[in-house]
Amino acid sequence: MATRSDGDDAVVTPEGATPPAAIDLRGINKTFGTVRANNDVAMTVRAGSIHGIVGENGAGKSTLMSILYGFYSADSGVIRVAGKPVDIRSPNDAIAAGIGMVHQHFMLVDNFTVLENVMMGAESGPLLRESIQKARGALLNLASEYGLHVDPEAVVGDLPVGSLQRVEILKALYRDARILILDEPTGVLTPQEAVQLFRILSALKERGVTVILITHKLGEVMAITDSVSVMRRGQMVAERVTAETSPEELAELMVGRKLKAGVSRQAQSVGKPALKVEGLSLRDRYGVARIDDIGFELCAGEILGIAGVSGNGQSELLEVLSGITPISAGRIHVEGRDITVAKPALPDEMRGLRLAHVPEDRQRRGMVTDFTARESSILGYQRDPAYNGRLFMDYDAIDTHCHDLMERFDVRPPLPGIVSAKLSGGNQQKLILAREIDRDPKVLLVGQPTRGVDIGAIEFIHQQLADLRDRGCAILLVSVELDEILALSDRILVMFEGRIVGEVPIEEADRSLLGLMMTNTHQGAAAADLEPLP
């Protein structure tokens, strides 16, 4: 077990000079209700370095950075910026101290232009005309200095995700940030785009900007950071120089124990096609094709992984197959039967065909958080005769069912009467998964099964999916986490702009190949030479 490194205000650099640390945190405590989100946390970040903070969901890293950025006030503790103690009570104070933050979910106004978004909050005066000129000039300078090219007049809502991140970084730099915090920045990027981002971060580092990177991706930490802090359950458990550690050590520190090697699978022979899709298309109300002429087969006893950067049609694919969104063209066959004939199939009809669905967004789609757990345990199956008399619902049967699910899938606390919102993210996900798997479906559609779920639950969920596959279910897995796709799939399809641009059996798949396919550049261009995205 690692111990915390000693805190020193000064770090000796090779030249012998001792500049103060860019950020020094001492004794940070923060409690929300009964949860100690930060427990006597200390951290030192050397000026002009790239520092990573890793930890599971709920480890406290976001809270710590929110305190640094002024969203919350720490209950106790001292924050020093460039050696001087500062009192940060609001984002204003943080910005004044030279701290900028790029959030995981972008803080942008969709119907404003890039220029308006960058300006907003940092205008030069009560009238906009001045601010516009100044901002435009500044954006041009920043673009050439750091390679952050964006069209100032572009409307943010129309921009691709990679550009949105660039706008966020520009916002911070426009306010003279010398310390930049990035929260899970590569969640929405392809591996190649991530490389672009890292280039930008290196450029920032060269100009003396300090970068703090919050991430759960250990590969990135190894690639780009100089030093890394590990948090677990609200405490800072280790600080390491990146060159002197390894992903395995970091993972162990994050979780506190040795991790399983991976999902155990049985050798499996693939059965008959359970789901077949031909010429599937979906046009949104602007006429844009979100799904563009897709065809594939999903067989019993296999996990078919759909890889791709989010926003390329995978979410729509799940919604179309589960009956939530009607298709514009094409055919869907379930067990050989064409179900798209008379009218589009709806979710309850799909369920009738033994198709189950674990949605990507569990809080928005997968459960009604105001319902009790027992009511959530039958969401989608509320009309099932097993839970209903002629007029009234049979709550005894529902209760028993919920108890049973909670036991088998280790949902804590196992109380059917608890309001679903009170379950943690991981437990909610387990309950939803339990609900769908318990139906013994022929086809299971599952999206982002482990988003926001801690490592212990991730292992459990992955094993459940593998076991289900072994029992002969056909599983369609959509995930933006390449590691998850690689860990579970038997076969991988890559989606780009609504089309399937590649199919790879698991034996031949690796991150860089998939990454190239995800940007549809696998026919030719080398990864390292990609142009910056517009």
């Binding site: 910005i95 803080m107 942008l108 106004v109 969709d110 308006e116 940092a122 906009l128």
Partner: protein, 324 residues
């Protein structure tokens, strides 16, 4: 020919008078809703302001004091709405309805207690009201054909508050789209988190929006009781606050289109009133009740016709709660 032209001008004149409170309330709602606060209580604020203005005018004899008092009343109600919605994250629609019902009762309770006339305030003299103003040159132009009539009967001859209402539209546009405050206000209605992370107070922005809303509805109420009429009568707003809201929605939360919707409304109303008692070929005389119900039917038609759901400010109706 002359007669027909005069008829048109007089109808347009009536349009202006009917549209004025709608325009003021629509601009009021514009600021509030663009900042993310639903405002159903335009009606109640206008009613309260109308009552206070008429009362103060009757007691003090000064329309200016009455205007100030009317605005103050509406601002207080706006702050109440803001307090419930912004500080206490209350349901914005419920708060709006509460204020409307409260005002419909309270104005009569106070009116009877103060003036003992069954809820009406005393009739006002011309000196106590905002009377029509003759713009300069109207006499000079009176004999000029067409232009003279237009100038004299349509453009000149309205009371001050009408001109204020019409000026409010370009002013609202300028504030919303050419100032820092307007940029931030529009941002807070779309993505309050973005504004919060930029270090700007979401609550203070919304409070200011709500205050502007109070100011404008205060003017609208004052117009109703002491400019367009000579006293306060119970429930005199008769749903115009809701109609203004419908005009705002129909105008997709933009100042000039909302303005257009208000004018359209005023025009249709003025035409309908002119048709009262006039037999329409094929139908005969339209019963008065239907003419009276026309504005409400029209509002429903407006709301049914062209609305795209996605056009409202994105964060409207959602209380902004800092996650902890």
């Amino acid at each position: 020919m002359e007669e027909a032209f005069l008829f048109v001008v007089l109808t347009l004149n009536a349009t202006v008078r009917v549209a004025t409170p709608l325009i003021l309330c629509a601009m009021a709602g514009l600021f509030s809703e663009r900042s993310g606060i639903i405002d159903i209580s335009l009606e109640g604020k206008m009613l309260g302001a109308a009552f206070i203005a008429a009362s103060v005018a009757a007691v003090t004899g000064s329309p200016w004091l009455a205007l100030a008092a009317g605005i103050l009343a509406a601002v207080c109600l706006a702050l109440l709405h803001g307090f419930a919605c912004i500080t206490h994250h209350g349901n914005q629609v419920v708060s709006g309805v509460a204020i409307n019902i409260l005002m419909s009762g309270l104005t009569v309770v106070l009116g009877i207690a103060w003036f003992h006339r069954g809820g009406q305030t005393p009739s006002l003299e011309s000196s106590e009201r905002f009377m029509p103003i003759s713009l300069p040159l109207s006499e000079f132009l009176a004999d000029v054909p067409i232009l003279g009539t237009l100038y004299g009967r349509l453009i000149s001859g309205h009371n001050l508050l009408v001109y204020v209402a019409f000026l409010a539209v370009p002013l609202a546009w300028w504030v919303l789209f050419r100032t820092r405050f307007g940029l931030r206000l529009r941002a807070v209605g779309e993505n309050p988190k973005a504004v919060d992370t930029a270090g700007i107070s979401v609550a203070w922005l919304r409070y200011r929006a709500v205050l502007i809303c109070g100011l404008l509805t205060g003017i609208a109420g004052t117009y109703l009781s002491i400019a367009n009429n000579a006293a306060f009568v119970r429930d005199m707003t008769a749903g115009q606050g809701y109609i203004a809201l419908a005009a705002l929605i129909f105008g997709k939360w933009r100042p000039w289109t909302a303005f257009g919707a208000c004018l359209l409304f005023g025009l249709l109303n003025a035409v309908a009133i002119r048709l009262q008692g006039v037999p329409i070929p094929g139908i005969g005389e339209v019963p008065v009740v239907f003419i009276q119900a026309l504005p409400y039917v029209l509002t429903v038609v407006l709301l049914a016709g062209f609305i795209g759901k996605a056009v409202a400010p994105k964060a409207i109706g959602e209380p902004y709660v800092k996650e902890s």
